[in-house]
């Protein structure tokens, strides 16, 4: 299959209209046709509870709920990063397989559900970029075994710096909401795009040379909104 080819990035106009945060589209996955379920954003606590239910007792309904929330977002994230639809579909499924496999090592005190799933999707994107599709699959199978040993090794009490995962994610969400739209856009593009600096220069029609200082300012603004003192 010619799936490990990355397409040229989408025209910018197409990508930019997809950048505004919205509630999930009402369309459900065919497999989870539970019409009674409202299509609202699940809360972080719900997401955490679903991941724990997947870990034990291997709850497939909880996994379906996670799949409905995260799989289309992971697919979108990978497409924004330059993958074509078929590859993004393939890797999104692989990411969800990893969510299942690693559910037992999920620790909400360390990272909230969305953060945890983000790192899974990001790591898969890294592995794919370095080693191709088979390499990424192999790597994620190995990682799952690693996570298990890590978990055994980490039985020690959590250090204080790790106590506030919920507060961090909540704070970041609020802080991001307070940023002017152009600064929030800079941060979004930094995470999503394959060539963030070049893409940002194009999207905002600014010279490449000023992109870095603009991102830096957006990051300072975010940290200020988070309550850090930064000059």
């Amino acid at each position: 299959m010619g799936m490990n080819t990355l397409t040229a990035p989408l025209p910018l106009s197409l990508r930019l209209d997809a950048q505004v945060a919205r509630r999930p589209a009402p369309g459900h996955l065919s497999v989870m046709s539970s019409p009674s379920r409202p299509s609202r954003m699940p809360t972080p606590d719900e997401l955490s509870a679903w991941i724990r239910a997947v870990a034990d007792p291997g709850d497939r309904a909880a996994f379906a709920a996670l799949f409905r929330h995260f799989a289309p977002r992971i697919k979108a994230f990978l497409m924004r990063g330059g993958a074509d639809a078929a590859l993004a579909e393939e890797l999104a499924q692989e990411a969800m397989v990893n969510v299942w496999r690693k559910a037992a090592s999920f620790d909400p005190a360390r990272a909230q559900a969305s953060t945890w799933v983000f790192t899974i999707a990001r790591n898969l994107r890294i592995d794919y970029a370095r080693r191709g599709l088979d390499g990424a699959r192999e790597q994620s199978a190995g990682d799952a075994a690693d996570e298990l040993t890590d978990e055994l090794a980490d039985a020690a009490p959590t250090p204080p710096e790790q106590l506030a995962a919920g507060q961090i994610e909540h704070g970041v969400r609020e802080a991001l909401g307070k940023l002017p739209e152009d600064q929030a856009l800079l941060l979004r593009l930094s995470f999503y795009e394959e060539q963030p600096h070049a893409d940002i220069a194009k999207a905002l029609s600014i010279p490449l040379g000023t992109v870095k200082s603009r991102i830096r300012r957006a990051m300072e603004q975010l940290r200020r909104a988070l309550g850090h003192l930064q000059p």
Binding site: V31, R73, A76, Q93, S190, F191
Partner: protein, 219 residues
């Protein structure tokens, strides 16, 4: 408390997964040694989580969920592979210095002598064989030949300290240099220094002899 930290943009690239394997490894080593950068990395990864929640979703093809379940069932019939951790042979370190966990998956060559009181060890990354990552170990007062860079050079000081006219770097400190920086790092007089270094492109040494040595080391 160390004073030289990675630039904000480098931390952001790390959180977004946009750094090459070598730079990413050196940055991970710094983060392991630096509580402040570790806290920032947690915030940036949380930002990644929030941005994942906020992205406009793209629906999967029909049947994607059942195909994913099939994959999970197929994988469950295999016993998980033992973790592929290469820790076996490691060159010696000064007493009291531990290998950072970030290097757990890497194989590290023995120390090779490259000059009086100067040694070098190659770090092989399983995920990117062609990464230019190495350890440099030099005695007190030793100086690396003057050079500039082609692309980014990132350095994490694991032990001791060096200076290069710009500033001094101590254990735990991080440095980023590029083609605009021409320097001649010298270990401080207090004792030996060990650094973990990742290069994007080869170093450009001024002297012929150093250039030949660099070519031999593959840096």
């Amino acid at each position: 408390m160390n004073t030289h930290h990675p630039d904000q943009l480098l931390l952001l690239s790390q959180a977004a997964g946009r750094l090459d394997a070598g730079a990413s490894l050196v940055l991970a080593t710094h983060i392991e040694m630096c509580p402040g950068c570790r806290a920032q990395m947690r915030e940036l990864e949380a930002l990644g989580g929030v941005l994942l929640d906020q992205i406009e979703p793209v629906e999967l093809a029909a049947g994607a969920f059942s195909r994913t379940l099939e994959r999970i069932d197929a994988a469950a019939s295999f016993a998980p592979r033992p973790p592929a951790r290469v820790k076996a042979t490691r060159p010696d370190l000064p007493a009291g210095l531990q290998w950072p966990h970030s290097l757990d998956g890497c194989s590290i060559s023995p120390w090779h002598r490259i000059g009086p009181d100067m040694r070098w060890s190659r770090v092989d990354l399983p995920q990117q064989r062609d990464a230019r990552v190495f350890l440099l170990r030099m005695g007190a007062g030793r100086m690396l030949a003057a050079h500039t860079h082609s692309g980014r050079e990132v350095t994490q000081v694991l032990y001791g300290a060096f200076e290069d006219g710009r500033a001094a770097w101590h254990a735990g400190d991080f440095d980023e240099a590029d083609e605009t920086i021409h320097h001649r790092p010298q270990v401080t007089a207090d004792g030996e220094c060990i650094c973990l270094v990742a290069l994007q492109g080869p170093l450009r040494f001024d002297g012929l002899l150093a250039r030949a040595l660099g070519a031999w080391m593959g840096i």
